[in-house]
């Protein structure tokens, strides 16, 4: 009995120590996560919620406005194919302005290495491999750059969670993301607002390389497709430096179409119209 009692006393003392050791041995579970870890977790989760969409097609219309309010229009069709274990493949075909009608851009995005891009010029029937390092350049004279329009691969940024705050009727997490390839990106950082329920992005603030607030993107008119995938209906980019803005409207989303890998080859690019 005595021995037993002593044993149980020892056990009573040892148990908290063991628990403490166990706790220290697995810090991510119990130690409060760092803002960097929370930010990364949100990014991984947002990306994971888009997994399995397969493919989709949509129409894009852009209205470009300058400071004086003069408008210019762009129209294009987008086809996107999900690739398991790598970045998506996408094909953009321009309808307007009419002088570039039929011009098409094929992108094979990659998680780590540089994306592959080919441009099809219908007047010459020429397929041209182009440099994909032009991330910061303007897309068709609009306020969107190429990097603003490509889906954010988790690996291409580092993250920092900032705070939670109300956004409209929802509660949003506010995080910063920093490009890994600082040379290619036009930004030093982006601040992203995502609602906590569905992790939809509602607002992005872009800071240029000198950390000046360059542009603000507000996103809205979300709709859910296939009971799972949220897609924006409208994206409004305002450039605070120039006073110019671009409204990008999405329409005619079609998921899980007949699109196949072969439609995203160089031969498929020549067929695009």
């Amino acid at each position: 009995m005595r021995i037993n009692r002593a044993y149980s006393w020892a056990l009573a003392l040892l148990a908290p120590c063991l628990i403490l050791l166990f706790w220290l041995g697995m810090p991510p579970i119990a130690r409060p996560a760092t803002p960097e870890e929370i930010g990364l977790k949100i990014a991984i989760e947002s990306r994971a919620r888009d997994d399995g969409f397969g493919n989709f097609t949509a129409k894009q219309a852009m209205v470009l406005r300058n400071k004086q309010g003069q408008e210019s229009r762009r129209q294009l069709r987008v086809k996107v194919l999900e690739v398991a274990g790598d970045g998506d493949k996408s094909l953009m075909v321009f309808d307007e302005p009419r002088d570039v009608k039929g011009t098409a851009l094929l992108t094979h995005a990659h998680k780590q290495e540089a994306d592959d891009q080919w441009l099809y010029l219908p007047a010459l029937k020429r397929v041209k491999r182009i440099s994909s390092s032009n991330k910061s350049g303007s897309f068709m004279g609009s306020e969107f750059s190429y990097e603003d329009l490509s889906p954010p691969e988790v690996e291409k940024f580092t993250y920092r969670y900032l705070r939670d705050e109300p956004c409209g009727d929802l509660t949003c997490t506010v995080s910063e993301r920093f490009p890994v390839d600082k040379k290619a990106s036009g930004y030093s950082r982006q601040v992203v607002w995502q609602d906590k329920d569905e992790l939809r992005t509602w607002k992005v603030e872009y800071y240029d390389r000198k950390d000046a607030h360059l542009k603000t993107l507000t996103i809205g008119k979300y709709r859910q497709y296939l009971d799972k995938y949220w897609r924006a209906g409208e994206m409004n980019m305002v450039n605070h430096l120039t006073g110019k803005s671009t409204v990008l409207s999405w329409a005619d989303y079609q998921f899980r179409t007949k699109l196949k890998k072969r439609d995203f080859s160089k031969t498929g690019l020549k067929r695009a119209r």
Partner: protein, 449 residues
């Protein structure tokens, strides 16, 4: 004897009959799921600051181009494209011409792990990566009447089959009919000294323009490297111009040359390495079977004096075999000085094994040892303003060309193109010396619909 234009019409009709029968056989219930009508109209003017070397040539010309496009697509994805072309020229009746740039049916589907694609009819095909010349590009005849740079091409009747897989892309071309190059008429410029006969076209092959030509190409992308190997066997797209009496070599000017098309074989290689903002390019050909008069002037003169006919004169020409190459690259500075503009720098070196005996291929200049340096300034503005300058200099001779182009969209559907083609200097020993007075300026006002 019927003119080549009439023969081409007959040829097209024959091919179209065959194509229609096939289309009906394979797609008995052809239902149109999508259709589209688009195109362009362009008002154009050209001015030559210097008078031509022949007094009948004019220094100004105006005209217009109409190029509508009809596209029909069937529910399964098969499609039909029709793209006719018409040019009116106020000065040169030959330059007023029409062409069927495209008229083809496109079918495709799965083939094992990959896919097959067939294009049947008249189409245009582009091969290559270089900018200063399109060395390996050979499927289509160029539309020399449109522009001497060889960028504009005539439609080529063909059966074009493609097989694509993870291992690359393999293409076969059956080219049943040859399109001769058409040269400007008496009052037109950029024709140099002589005229080229449009009625009499000579072929090495007894089948003449109906000689079946074949071509094949394999291409693939290995990460940053895009590579292609090609072969062409058939009628040359470049004419050997033969000066035979009575139309040529006498005292009546301008001389009228007879175009002669040899049977040639060409092997081509093209590669591009894309690394960050660098594009590194290489093209090379090995060609055999073409005839060359350079270096045989003595024999040709003797044959002329002896009054020997076309065959006798042509017999003096050397049948040759040669290698030519282009190597170079392109580097782009994006968003320069914090603006939205891009600046691209281009440099290429053109080589031809024949050296001074080199003949022009796709453009009226010989590129035997010539450096090309270019600048492309893209403003990336709402109007897509772009300025390009290209300087071409012969490393071993005093021949230098400068081309400057300005492009800008004016309104949603209107755009402007202004270009200057300047001959800075030209070596009297150059084949293109006859074109020394043909520097020009041009302006296009284009409406796209």
């Amino acid at each position: 004897m019927r003119s080549p234009a009439a023969r081409y019409l007959a040829a097209l009709t024959a091919i179209w009959l065959a194509a229609s029968i096939m289309a009906v056989e394979t797609h008995a219930e052809f239902e149109i799921a999508a259709s589209e009508f688009s195109g362009r109209v362009s008002l154009e003017g050209r001015a030559f600051p210097q008078t031509g070397i022949d007094a009948s040539q004019r220094s100004y010309t105006t005209g217009f181009v109409v190029e509508p496009k009809l596209y029909l697509e069937e529910a399964g994805g098969s499609s039909f494209t029709l793209l006719p072309f018409f040019r009116y020229d106020s000065v040169d009746s030959v330059r007023t011409h029409w062409d069927l740039r495209e008229a083809y049916a496109l079918l495709y589907g799965e083939l094992g792990e990959g896919e097959w694609e067939v294009r049947l009819g008249v189409d245009r095909v582009f091969w290559g990566v270089a900018e200063s010349q399109h060395l390996i590009d050979i499927i289509n005849q160029i539309d020399f009447l449109e522009h001497p740079n060889g960028e504009v091409k005539l439609g080529q009747p063909m059966v074009h089959a493609t097989w694509t897989g993870d291992w690359g892309t393999l293409e076969f071309f059956g080219l049943p009919y040859h399109r001769p190059r058409i040269y400007p008429g008496r009052r037109g410029r950029l024709r140099f000294a002589g005229l080229v006969d449009r009625e009499r076209v000579e072929y090495e092959s007894g089948a003449e323009e109906w000689h079946p030509d074949f071509a094949a190409r394999y291409s693939h992308s290995f990460g940053p490297l895009d590579i292609g190997v090609s072969v062409f066997d058939g009628t040359s797209r470049e004419a050997t111009l033969v000066c035979a009496p009575p139309a040529c070599g006498g005292s009546v000017f301008p001389y009228v040359f007879i175009p002669y098309y040899s049977q040639i074989r060409q092997f081509g290689l093209d590669a591009q390495l894309t690394l960050d903002s660098w594009l590194l390019k290489f093209e090379a050909i090995h060609r055999s079977g073409e005839r060359n008069p350079l270096g045989r002037e003595e024999g040709i003169r003797t044959a002329l004096i002896q009054g020997r006919g076309f065959e006798g004169i042509l017999g003096q020409y050397r049948e040759e075999e040669y290698v030519a190459a282009v190597v170079g690259g392109e580097y782009t500075f994006y968003s320069v000085f914090g603006s939205t503009a891009d600046v691209g720098l281009l440099a290429e070196w053109n080589y031809d094994e024949r050296g001074r005996r080199a003949l022009p291929r796709r453009q009226p200049m010989t590129l035997d040892n010539d450096f090309f340096v270019g600048v492309r300034l893209g403003f990336n503005d709402v109007n897509s303003t772009e300025i390009t300058a290209a300087f071409l200099t012969d490393a071993s001779r005093e021949t230098r060309n400068l081309g400057v182009e300005f492009d800008r969209r004016l309104f949603d559907q209107w755009s402007l193109h202004v270009a200057a083609n300047l001959i800075l200097s030209i070596d009297p020993l150059d084949v293109q010396y006859v074109g020394r007075r043909d520097g020009f300026y041009e302006l296009h006002l284009e409406y796209n619909f």
